[in-house]
């Protein structure tokens, strides 16, 4: 990319400032730039250039210093929390935050795992790329059972925006015509293996309302002309996505939205710029810009714009908003309602079942599929007979055992070696992705005294899974077990685990949308109820979690909000 794109000091008044460069920030920048608006993207971390900076990419295990493992002292000193993420490996660790510099606290008796990705591209480099639309049952969920505030939008408000972002990002998947999970603009789905197809067929007979579908994922199974023009090619099935994909065969900021934004010549990026707060002008009731602390030398500077989009990740965005205080807004900008920081949610991935699938010994696969299968939520309609509100999806995949499992058998020598060479039994599992209720008590707040090295008040989390989520996980483990046994699996075992909130890395809520300014922070266009030129379009804006992975909805909400904002700017209402 053109080096002139990066700025440090500037007194220019941009049309738009976008805080953050992840999934949401990338989309906001692209949409503003393509509409002709001079845009400044602010990123707290360092620059990561597509291809050039994927230093862990395509390394064979024997070419890695510790064969994919990591120096245990380095983990202990710098990545104690980040290492809990499944994707934290030697090839990816530089895309995770350094816990030593990113302290936070939790209220005694609670836990929260905060996974960080502070660099250009943010978590768009690290996400698992599962991409699902929310359906009408999801947007209506809070209203239907009365728990939480009603989403101010329904599918007709957002369907076209889903289509719009899907075409650009490239989402693979199958059209299924399900009542609980809307179809989208899909590239062909990944193949299922033969045992997976067999289980799918069994579920179709035994559980007509529980379809087993191929996971929908932001990978180019068959790139469109548009994707090829973006410099992206077909997915090579390496499943090393989080190390960086120079093929651009997945969606990330670097592969997809950033090149589109940069091509307009309307984009500038201020890297290493930790936003401390928003500059608010009480007279005009507008945000004028942002105050920034330099990531490296801790010096201060300011940037200015006509509108500000906060896309700094759910917790990062709300931290900035809470830290932006003024006489009018002593508890955080735009927070007269007092809801800012509350209704923090994540998904609950704490249950499932797995077993052996006998047979299919002459079946194998080639390539490493970067996606699994999904049984979409089958509890989408409220039912007073259930012991909990809402529902869960079940995700899983079939695989054949290899030396990693068969090594545990007794024996040594030639027979042992030959046994480890072969592919073993087929295994299949179903693992819950449960909805978490929006509860006022689950919250993040600014610590009254503790600050980080940039002088930002540290976050204190007070967030727990409630009995509703726990009862749901018990049900999920039992249902998953029942389904696997019914499908003919053997040695089926179920589990319920105790992972803390945060680890699904789907932090949502804390600056929710809503129709009523007294009970919500944003209106139906992700615009502050109180400060018209302030928008929050990342996960902070969610009213409920549904069960779907949220990133596709970040994209659609963001593109829609920019469209609305630019119309307002044109009509001079901004």
């Amino acid at each position: 990319m053109n080096d002139n794109i990066y700025i440090n000091k500037s007194s220019e008044v941009y049309d738009a400032i976008v805080i953050g460069s992840g999934v949401s920030g990338g989309w906001a920048a692209k949409e503003f730039c393509e509409r002709g608006y001079k845009t400044l993207m602010i990123e707290r971390g360092r620059v990561v250039e597509h291809r050039k900076d994927y230093v862990g990419e395509n390394k064979r295990p024997w070419q890695q210093p510790f064969r994919t493992r990591i120096d245990n002292l380095l983990v202990q000193e710098q990545h104690k929390i980040q290492q809990q993420c499944y994707a934290f490996t030697d090839a990816t660790k530089h895309f995770f935050g350094n816990d030593r510099d990113l302290p936070y606290t939790t209220t005694p008796g609670t836990e929260f795992s905060w996974i960080r990705a502070n660099q250009l591209g943010g978590k768009s480099l690290l996400w698992h790329r599962q991409s699902y639309r929310f359906g009408d049952y999801d947007f209506a969920a809070n209203k239907l059972d009365g728990y939480g505030n009603d989403w101010p939008i329904r599918t007709p408000d957002i369907a076209n925006w889903y289509s719009y972002v899907e075409k650009h990002a490239g989402i693979s998947g199958s059209k299924e015509n399900l009542p609980n999970l809307p179809d989208g603009e899909f590239l062909p789905p990944f193949d299922m293996t033969v045992p997976e197809l067999a289980i799918k067929e069994k579920f179709a007979k035994l559980y007509p309302d529980r379809a087993l579908i191929m996971g929908r994922a932001a990978h180019l199974t068959k790139p469109s002309k548009l994707h090829v023009e973006q410099g992206r090619v077909q997915c090579q099935a390496r499943n090393e996505c989080q190390a960086g994909c120079s093929f651009g065969a997945y969606f990330s900021t670097q592969s997809s939205t950033l090149p589109a934004a940069a091509a307009t010549n309307n984009l500038h990026i201020a890297p290493n710029s930790v936003v401390e707060s928003l500059i608010y002008d009480e007279k005009s009731n507008r945000v004028k810009g942002v105050r920034v602390i330099d990531n490296d030398d801790l010096s201060q500077r300011e940037y200015f714009a006509k509108v500000v989009f906060v896309c700094a990740s759910t917790i990062g965005s709300t931290q900035i908003l809470m830290n932006s205080t003024s006489k009018k807004f002593p508890n955080g900008i735009g927070n007269s309602s007092g809801v800012l920081g509350h209704y923090l949610m994540d998904h609950n991935y704490n249950a499932g079942a797995r077993g052996d699938f006998d047979g299919f010994e002459d079946e194998y696969f080639s390539g490493r599929r970067p996606s699994g299968l999904l049984v979409p939520n089958f509890y989408y309609k409220p039912d007073a007979k259930r012991k909990f509100l809402r529902g869960y999806a079940l995700a899983g995949a079939a695989y054949r055992e290899d030396w990693r499992s068969t090594q545990h058998q007794d024996g040594i020598g030639v027979d042992y070696k030959n046994s480890l060479k072969q592919a073993g039994k087929w295994k299949f599992g179903l693992h819950a992705q449960g909805e978490m209720l929006p509860r006022f008590e689950n919250q993040m707040r600014l610590h009254p005294t503790l600050k980080d090295k940039w002088g930002m008040p540290q976050i204190e989390f007070d967030c727990q899974f409630s009995d509703n989520e726990k009862n749901m996980m018990i049900d999920a483990s039992e249902e998953a077990e029942r389904m696997l046994i019914a499908a003919g699996l053997s040695n089926v075992t179920r589990y319920v685990s105790n992972g803390a909130p945060g680890l699904a890395i789907h932090e949502l809520g804390t600056a929710r949308m809503g129709s009523d300014p007294k009970t919500s922070y944003l209106n139906k266009f992700n615009q502050s109820h109180e400060v018209p030129n302030l928008f929050v379009t990342d996960g902070a804006s969610f009213c409920s979690t549904a069960v779907q992975n949220p990133s596709l909805t970040f994209m659609a909400l963001t593109a829609r909000a920019v469209d609305y904002c630019t119309q307002e700017m044109k009509s001079l209402r901004m």
């Binding site: 510790f66 390496r238 490296d296 007794d410």
Partner: protein, 216 residues
């Protein structure tokens, strides 16, 4: 405690002391590089590369970081007993013992290092007890029977000794199947598969995939 045991526990203290300087090195390095540029991406890599295992022809030719030279020689033999040479090289032939010595030092806790040293000292002790000669001088069959019995917890071997040996066996398997020979000659390696196919034929003696992407 036998003389051998004393020697072993003395050698297992060394890495613990060294961890202090490694800690300082890690702290110093990150303070130095800052975070301004892509170069900082490389900083933790640079630490790792400085400490990384580089394949030697045979690490048993000198003292290791965790093991003595004698223990490395025995470990090499244990590697070859667990995963011997067939149409492809065995684990000891590709310096899995050297890899384990380095890996234990950098990626495992002192307690685990010590447990693995104890496994080797147990093997030596049993050879002396039963045959009155060093493990490495035993006939192949005697070596095989002893390690096989240890792996199954048979004879005088306790459940704990069997458990600790299984940990060593896991390291041998990890070292071998992530080596170039293990991953790409014994097993099938495909760095860039070009796409995913859900069904290809498989017959019993075909090698399974040695390429696992990020997830070993």
């Amino acid at each position: 405690m036998s003389e051998q045991d004393k020697l072993n526990s003395a050698s297992s203290i060394a890495p613990t002391l060294d961890n202090q300087s490694r800690r300082q090195f890690i702290r110093g390095f990150s303070a130095m590089v800052g975070s301004a540029t892509a170069a900082s991406l490389l900083s933790t890599h640079a630490i790792a590369v400085a400490a990384s295992y580089t394949a030697n022809a045979d690490s048993a030719l000198s003292k290791g970081k965790v093991f003595t030279q004698a223990q490395l020689t025995s470990l090499k033999q244990v590697c070859n007993l667990v995963i011997p040479k067939t149409s492809t090289l065995g684990a000891g032939d590709v310096d899995t013992h050297g890899f384990i010595d380095n890996q234990l030092f950098y990626c495992h806790e002192a307690l685990e290092q010590q447990a693995m040293v104890q496994v080797l000292s147990l093997i030596e002790q049993m050879a002396q007890q039963q045959f009155s000669i060093a493990f490495n001088q035993l006939a192949f069959d005697d070596q095989f029977h002893m390690i096989n019995a240890l792996d199954r917890g048979q004879g005088s071997f306790t459940a704990q000794q069997r458990h600790d040996f299984k940990s060593l066996k896991k390291l041998i398997c990890f070292g071998y199947y992530t080596s170039e020979v293990g991953a790409s000659q014994e097993l099938r390696f495909d760095a860039i598969p070009g796409g995913f196919k859900g069904s290809i034929p498989y017959s019993k003696d075909d090698a399974s995939w040695g390429s696992k992407g990020l997830f070993y």
